[in-house]
Amino acid sequence: MPDQYSKRAQLAVAVVLLMSVFAVCTLAGYYSLVEREIRASEAIVMDEDRFTGIRALLPARGTIGYLSDTGGIARNPKAYYLTQYYLAPLVVAEDPEHDLVIANFVSPSAIATLAAARGLTVEHDFTNGVALLSRRTR
């Protein structure tokens, strides 16, 4: 029995040390991990309020186009993905070749020019970079 207790005592000390190492490692690990993960997530600005107005003008269901001044889907997919996230269950296609198109611009003043270049008319400009465009067939 004394041998057992001795061995158990040694193991208990080992476990205490192991747990202490775990605890310290956990704290140290968190410091680097949390900052890394949050930095990546916080870079995404959730600006859903900008889209509140346009949702009332859009149909409940269907597919609409997308136009942006930030270099398109390939160069700035984040803005497009967020637009889709905000406007679900409406499907936002990656291109502007649709009857209704949502404009999501960084420079609100550029909306009219870019829309005209694509054969689109500004139906409603919310003056916050978001506008509803439509394709007028003649």
Binding site: Q4, R8, L11, A12, V15, V16, L18, M19, V21, F22, A23, C25, T26, L27, A28, G29, Y30, S32, L33, V34, E37, I38, A40, S41, E42, I44, M46, A60, R61, T63, P77, Y81, Q84, Y85, A88, P89, L90, V91, A93, E94
Partner: protein, 481 residues
């Protein structure tokens, strides 16, 4: 009250289901009514309840009803079974195990250390959740986006969320998380970040709880607490949990499968084997990798123990797999691996040796840095196993062999996915390898603590009853040889 409202029905369904089939036996001499093993039943049951509610909600869409009657029916049926058998069955887990009255101080110390680390984890989880209530990129761009489609769309419009136009959001991914979040919003009557955060919180801390309670039943409280500590000391689990990624629920279901199957083997219980089937199938309802896990486990079970308990396993799995098959066949878009885009250039990718080298190199790097702990989480675990040595208890040999092979098959499957996927491989490995390791990490920890000799003096494991079940396992092992 909001998180409680979300979790109440699935917890009730799952707990009653576990009480009905999970280790209660008319012949068992254990506690009648509630016992200490009900915490284990509650944790695993809540996970299963969440999965089942999510499937009912999805089936409700397909068959144009709310899905709520089926949920209520199941909980009422479970309640009736539990009520009718409340005094006629005993807990088999209580009846076959005993606790040695020694070294309680050590157990208490370990419990305190476990609680201390969980408090740190909880604080960190809520800090991250407060800063990113909509979760990480995958959470809002895949899971919560799909939840919005399900919740906001009426009639048949919910199917719009699975169009090829949204291929970037992976419309082929299974729906456990989106369907449960949408269902929670329906319960609350509004969209709220509380639903996905509550769900993430349950699965994240459920992993540690399930690990500790499961290993405690199989190997004793000290081993259980040590195993729980290893998960509590894995920061990556809690940060990814707070990011609401689906890898954590998948890790939970992989662990639930292994724990249930270990209990099925140990106690010769078809009930636990069917629970293992349900958990494995729910892994497939969580992520595509879960389907890989289901197939890997099935194959490993057939190879290692000639399909022991397979009937009970499949009896639990098949009803739960039905909605998954329905979803994949009728709703989901084609996957980026096996769709037309994925098939283009597939042979060239398979024949490119640089891809194999990169996968191997990055896999070793991520294994080394996983945790992240200075010593490396896998290394710590390996040292623990080396110091402890292997236990020689043949009762766990079947699940150890099955589990090890299933995890190896799964890891091999991951490598194959990397090899075939038509995306920039370096980027793919960099952004996902840690999360794939996280999926199998609790399963690995469970395997290690089941295989290791209990150096701290096991307080369970010496079965005092049920010699028949012991000899059943022995004959099974003999057949394995």
């Amino acid at each position: 009250m909001t998180p409680l409202a979300i979790a109440l029905l699935p917890a009730a369904i799952g707990f009653l289901l576990m009480r009905a089939v999970g280790g209660l036996d008319p012949a068992a001499a254990g506690a009648r009514g509630f016992c200490r093993h009900d915490l284990f039943r509650l944790i695993i049951g809540t996970g299963i309840g969440i999965g089942l509610c999510s499937e009912f909600y999805f089936a409700g869409f397909v068959f144009a009803n709310s899905g709520l009657p089926a949920e209520l029916l199941l909980s009422i049926a479970g309640g009736i079974i539990v009520f009718l058998y409340r005094n006629k069955t005993g807990c088999r887990l209580c009846g076959t195990l005993y606790r040695a009255p020694e070294a309680r101080i050590l157990t208490r110390y370990l419990a305190c250390a476990f609680a201390f680390l969980l408090v740190i984890d909880l604080a960190m989880f809520f800090q991250v959740s407060a800063r990113t209530p909509r979760g990480g990129w995958d959470a809002w761009a895949i899971w919560n986006l799909r939840a919005r489609f399900l919740y906001r769309a009426g009639g048949s419009a919910w199917r719009d969320g699975f169009t090829e136009l949204l291929a970037w959001s992976h419309p082929d991914y299974p729906l456990l998380l989106p369907a449960f979040v949408a269902q929670s919003w329906r319960t609350l009557g509004r969209e709220s970040s509380v639903a996905p955060v509550t769900l993430a919180c349950f699965f994240t801390f459920g992993c540690a709880g399930l690990m500790a309670s499961g290993v405690t039943i199989l190997r004793g409280a000290r081993q259980g607490l040590l195993a729980g500590l290893v998960l509590a000391a894995t920061p990556f689990l809690y940060v990814q949990g707070a990011m609401q990624c689906a890898d954590v629920p998948l890790a939970f279901f992989i662990l639930a499968t292994l724990v249930s199957l270990a209990l099925a083997d140990r106690f010769n219980s078809p009930g636990f084997a069917s629970i293992a089937g349900v958990a494995a199938a729910l892994a497939g309802w969580t992520k595509n990798e879960g389907l890989l896990w289901f197939s890997a486990l099935l194959l490993a079970r057939v190879v290692m123990v000639r399909g022991r308990s397979l009937q009970a396993f499949l009896a639990g799995a098949l009803p739960v797999l039905a909605p998954v098959i329905l979803f994949k066949a009728c709703v989901a878009a084609s996957s980026d691996i096996f769709g037309s885009a994925g098939r283009t250039g597939m042979m060239a990718r398979v024949q490119d040796p640089s891809r194999y080298i990169l996968i191997a190199k990055e896999a070793f790097r991520h294994i080394r840095e996983f945790g992240p702990l200075p010593a490396g989480a896998f290394a710590i675990l390996a040292v623990y196993l080396a110091v402890s040595g292997f236990q020689r208890d043949i009762r766990d040999r079947a699940i150890l062999r099955t589990g090890t092979l299933a995890l190896l098959f799964t890891a091999f499957g991951y490598c194959l996915i990397y090899l075939l996927r038509p995306l920039d491989l370096a980027w793919l490995l960099d952004t996902s390898a840690d999360r794939l390791l996280l999926q199998i990490w609790p399963g690995i920890v469970f395997g290690v603590f089941l295989a290791a000799r209990a150096q701290l003096g096991a307080d369970v494991g010496n079965v005092v009853g049920s010699e028949a079940q012991f000899s059943g396992t022995e004959s099974l092992i003999r057949r394995c040889r």
